[in-house]
Amino acid sequence: MLHRKKKEKAIESTLLMVSGVTVVALFLLCFFLFREGFLLFGDHSIISFITGSSWYPSSSPAKFGLLPLLTGSLIVTAGAILLSVPLGIASAVYISELADPKVAQLIKPFVEILAGIPSVVYGFFGLVIVVPLLQDLLDLPTGQTALAGSIMLGMMALPTIISVSEDAINSVPAALKEGSLALGSTKWQTIYRVVLPAALSGISAAVMLGIGRAIGETMTVMMVTGNTAIIPGIPEGLFDPVRTMTATIALEMGEVPQGSEHFHALFAVGSVLFLITFIINLIADSVKKKYRLQEGV
């Protein structure tokens, strides 16, 4: 017995250590990210970084303006969300409300596989298939555009959006639906007027998580968006090449000497990216909590 207890204790403390490492790693990461990023502001004003409209890291004097990269990330993400949210919610409604259970069982694994495809594969598919297609269909000078990025990211965010909104829809109390149907509403009226509003906060959480997934994605975006650091017009910028914050870090980190201005500028971009995803995750979390509370009532 004693031996068993010791073993239990050992496993417990190992697990505690492992999870402790996660927390420590996060704090160290934040610390270094912000410290290295902050060092940029010795020579450059923080205002010129945030409001600067040109990113010329290798010209002299170098210009580190965040705006083209920030707007690039935002337009690609916005496009991705516009594409994936309606599709995702529609699929979730179909899977959880309408589909024959057998069909739903068949569709679900496919959605999961979509989540498991490596991003470089998405990127390659985008570059070889989607980019030339967009160029021909829309008669653009190049298909490497924000839209190509949005389509690929939309596909990549779909599994998150589908599975989280499916959970939300499934946890709508059956009594609500039955009540609606008993009052003579059709299936569609019930979904549209009762189920979706009841699941709204869960679905919003799904959308926020999808945004988080899209804004942090690097490889795919770098391969299909053309990486041109110009502030895109909205909305016509969707059809122009753009450069995201993630792609900038990935493209330029290799050549920068440690401790140079450019190095700190990339860390500053990384800090902004981190703050954005952090805030999005916080919002998603609080929305989710709210919806759980409602469940309890």
Partner: protein
């Protein structure tokens, strides 16, 4: 998951992390001491030199099975930065080290020695459907700087020019900027591609595109333009590059910290040997 499989999982996790940790230690030991039996070196840098170094290393390792040569790409700047940080034995570069990099190296106690291992031609590529077949240096510069934006200004169809460039870690990016653009900035709307492969891929699909790639990357999906630096348009053929008539040819370098020794020296000697030179031709470059 049952408790039993859970504890298996944890054991597995611990064992793997221990193994990885152990492997890391062992790896460091061998590179430091450079023991006689199992020698290994790390080479890193230019994506242009990468295919050559890989082919040479394969040949070399067939002849010397006890040696290991690891080769990593990433761009000339990446390789040079790694040499300065003392992470690699040889840096591959498709451009000479910049003054600032040499200074950095010296402050880090690294004394970079340059070896020219081969010559590379840079070819300007367009889609095979594009009727334009030659450009002057002035036209190229105007296209890349942003003064010319339509193919009809250089004798082509009325189409917008889509300008492709490598990212700034690339030695080819720097070379092209110095050699053709006379140090001017690339136009702001140039598409930045993370690899040479992405440039050939895009050019092969896009009739509006123009890009630059190493001659070794040429294939039938793209068309190489003849280039005129004032003495007539020259095609990037091997004769023209070897004779020096093709204007966009550049040396490829290996950099070492101090004079190369041990396996690094053997490998560099192998590259300039007769078998090594044959491999250089096979890959699409030209012996120094």
């Amino acid at each position: 998951m049952s408790k039993k499989s859970m504890s298996y999982m944890i054991t597995l996790l611990l064992v793997t992390s221990l193994a990885l940790f152990g492997a890391g230690c062992v790896g460091n030991d061998t590179t430091d001491s450079g023991s006689e039996e199992m020698q290994s070196i790390i080479i890193k840098g230019s994506d242009t030199v990468l295919p050559l170094a890989q082919a040479e290393a394969e040949e070399f390792m067939i002849e010397n099975p006890e040696s290991t040569i690891s080769i990593i790409g990433g761009g000339s700047g990446v390789g040079i930065a790694a040499l300065i940080d003392g992470e690699v034995d040889i840096a591959m570069a498709s451009r000479a080290m910049k003054g600032s990099e040499i200074e950095n190296a010296q402050t880090n106690g690294v004394d970079p020695i340059q070896q020219t291992i081969a010559w590379d031609g840079i070819s300007i590529v367009v889609n095979p459907e594009n009727p334009v077949s030659d450009l002057t240096f002035e036209q190229l510069k105007a296209i890349y700087v942003g003064d010319i934006s339509n193919w009809n200004e250089v004798g082509g169809e009325d189409r917008e020019i889509v300008v492709l460039s490598r990212d700034s870690s690339s030695g080819t990016y720097e070379y092209f900027k110095d050699e053709v653009m006379e140090g001017n900035e690339y136009r702001a709307d140039a598409l930045i591609n993370p690899s040479t492969g992405a440039i050939t891929q895009t050019v092969s699909q896009n009739q509006n595109a123009i890009g630059y790639v190493g001659v070794a990357y040429l294939d039938e999906t793209v068309k190489a333009l003849a280039v005129d630096k004032g003495s007539g348009a020259e095609e990037p053929t091997s004769e023209n590059i070897l004779s020096g008539e093709y204007p966009l040819a550049r040396p490829l370098y290996f950099y070492t910290d101090g004079e190369p020794t041990g396996l690094a020296l053997e490998f560099i000697e192998f590259v300039s040997s007769e078998t090594g030179e044959e491999t250089i031709f096979e890959v699409g470059y030209f012996p120094a």
